[in-house]
Amino acid sequence: MYKIESKNVDFFYGPSQALKNINIAIKPNTVTALIGPSGCGKSTYLRLFNRMNDLIDNTRISGQVLIDNEDIYAKGINVDSLRKKVGMVFQKPNPFPKTIFENVAYGLRVNGISDKKFIEERVETSIKQVALWEEVKDKLKKPAFELSGGQQQRLCIARALAIQPSIILMDEPTSALDPISTAKIEALIYELKSKYTIVIVTHNMQQAGRVSDTTAFFYMGELIEHGNTKTIFTNPKIERTQNYITGRFG
């Protein structure tokens, strides 16, 4: 049984087609890396899973995207509850202009939870999950902007975890971070895998190799190859994949 499946997915920005007939199936509790040159459609594809592309005017999708066997583009789907199930982490750390505590509590509050004790527990658990608790436990009432970039990004992951999603989407989560913060996030991704299904867009081949179980290579809106990361990196079936991974183009 798959956690996420896309069947014959086409996606259009106005008249231009950004994704062409994408078929991928993702197993639960795995990390899937989406790689490919800029503009290949990998970020667009990622944003299909929590319907973030809905926010862009004049876009159109055809085909099916299934999460837990349910078509998330079917009529009558509640986008808010879909997004509760599918957390997202962005390229640049983007904590809200609120305290550290309120940043993590935000998702709970907008989902109608007001029990103080429960919120405090969820906040603490989520911050502990991203290994940030020791660093921030004495300054939960301080603005999140006062944290370093790496800490902010971990806080953003905690913010996503607080509402207990089952899928986490990451759009180049370390591209704005230094190597040490990057290593921490990568270790975290590895940890989180036991509880969540993770899809990560990355430009960093080594990162894809280090954190992912399967890798999907996109090129000009097409899925060129999807398979076991080790196989993709050592013995890809298609030459273009090999050329990209070894840095001969892209």
Partner: protein, 294 residues
């Protein structure tokens, strides 16, 4: 091809740069100089007539003596009244335009209309205010009619600045909030507005500056030529500083003798705008801090 002598080339480049920068520098200083000469001229001419009595007394002897108290109060009422109308309407319209309307023909039309509204001469606002608020709605020459007319004038300024401010809020904040299952309204009110609020205040500053100095819109809607008493309700007529200044300089009983009062009035008007700006700036800083601590 012979390449130009490097030393000479460098020299030529430096000279060109120096000339350009000097022109920019002189022009920038010229702006400051113009501002200062206006200010010092008004202060020089008007300072002598400023006294405690001048700002707290009623005008006397055909407006050549006494104070301008009712005009100050009138202007403050009009500024407050127009902002009470224009600020919420303008901010809400801008939120609607930036956060809700999809790109397309409707958005274009609203935008173009806002720009057109900004381009209408203020005297036309005055005429419109007279026919709608004073006559049709029966408010008469009143603070209410004048405030609404001034509010209409300020509306495009508020809408445009608020829209720019909202546009400057990074989209990833919206996406992060929506991504957590927040609705569009929760995202707007809990994330976007707190970030944007300090700068929305700037829109308020700009429109206060604009509104307090306008003469034409109040000409037919509220302004009294001479009314030595304070308004008691929004349906009263009132004096106002810019109109008072106009009256003193063109149609007073004795223009020459009331000259010092006119300059004094101008100085008071400028000081009021200045105080409003400082106040709004203070508010902006205060809210800026609060947003971070929230």
């Amino acid at each position: 091809m012979k390449l130009p002598d490097e030393h000479k080339l460098a020299k030529r480049k430096m000279r060109g740069q120096a000339i350009a920068f000097w022109i920019f520098r002189i022009l920038s200083y010229a702006i400051i100089a113009i501002l200062f000469s206006i200010l010092s001229f008004i202060i020089y001419k008007g300072a002598s007539s400023i006294s405690w009595g001048f700002i707290t007394k009623m005008p006397e002897e055909g407006m050549t003596k006494g104070g301008i108290y009712p005009a100050i109060i009138g202007t403050l009422c009009l500024v407050a009244g127009s902002m009470i109308f224009a600020f919420p309407v303008g901010v809400l319209a801008a939120i609607y335009m930036n956060e809700y309307v999809k790109d397309g023909i409707i958005k274009k039309i609203i935008k173009q209309m806002t720009n057109n509204l900004a381009g209408i001469p203020s005297i036309v606002f005055g005429l419109f205010g007279m026919s709608l608020f004073v006559n049709k709605l029966g408010f008469g020459d009143s603070i209410l009619a004048g405030s609404l007319t001034l509010g209409l004038l300020a509306l495009p300024v508020v809408i445009r600045t608020t829209e720019e401010v909202l546009k400057a809020v990074d989209n990833t904040f919206r996406h992060a909030s929506l991504g957590l299952g927040a609705s569009k309204w929760e995202t707007t009110s809990k994330v976007v507005l707190p970030i944007a609020f300090p700068n929305i205040i700037t829109g308020l500053i700009l429109s206060i500056g604009r509104v307090s100095g306008e003469t034409a819109p109040i000409l037919f809607t509220v302004a009294a030529y001479f009314l030595p008493k304070l308004p008691t309700s929004v349906f009263d007529q009132a004096m106002a500083l810019p109109y008072h200044l106009y009256v003193l300089s063109t149609s007073g009983t004795n223009i020459e003798e009331s000259r010092p009062v006119a300059y004094g009035t101008a100085l008071v008007l400028i000081i009021i705008v200045l105080i409003a700006n400082l106040l709004a700036n203070g508010l902006r800083k205060y809210f800026g801090r609060k947003v971070k601590m929230n």
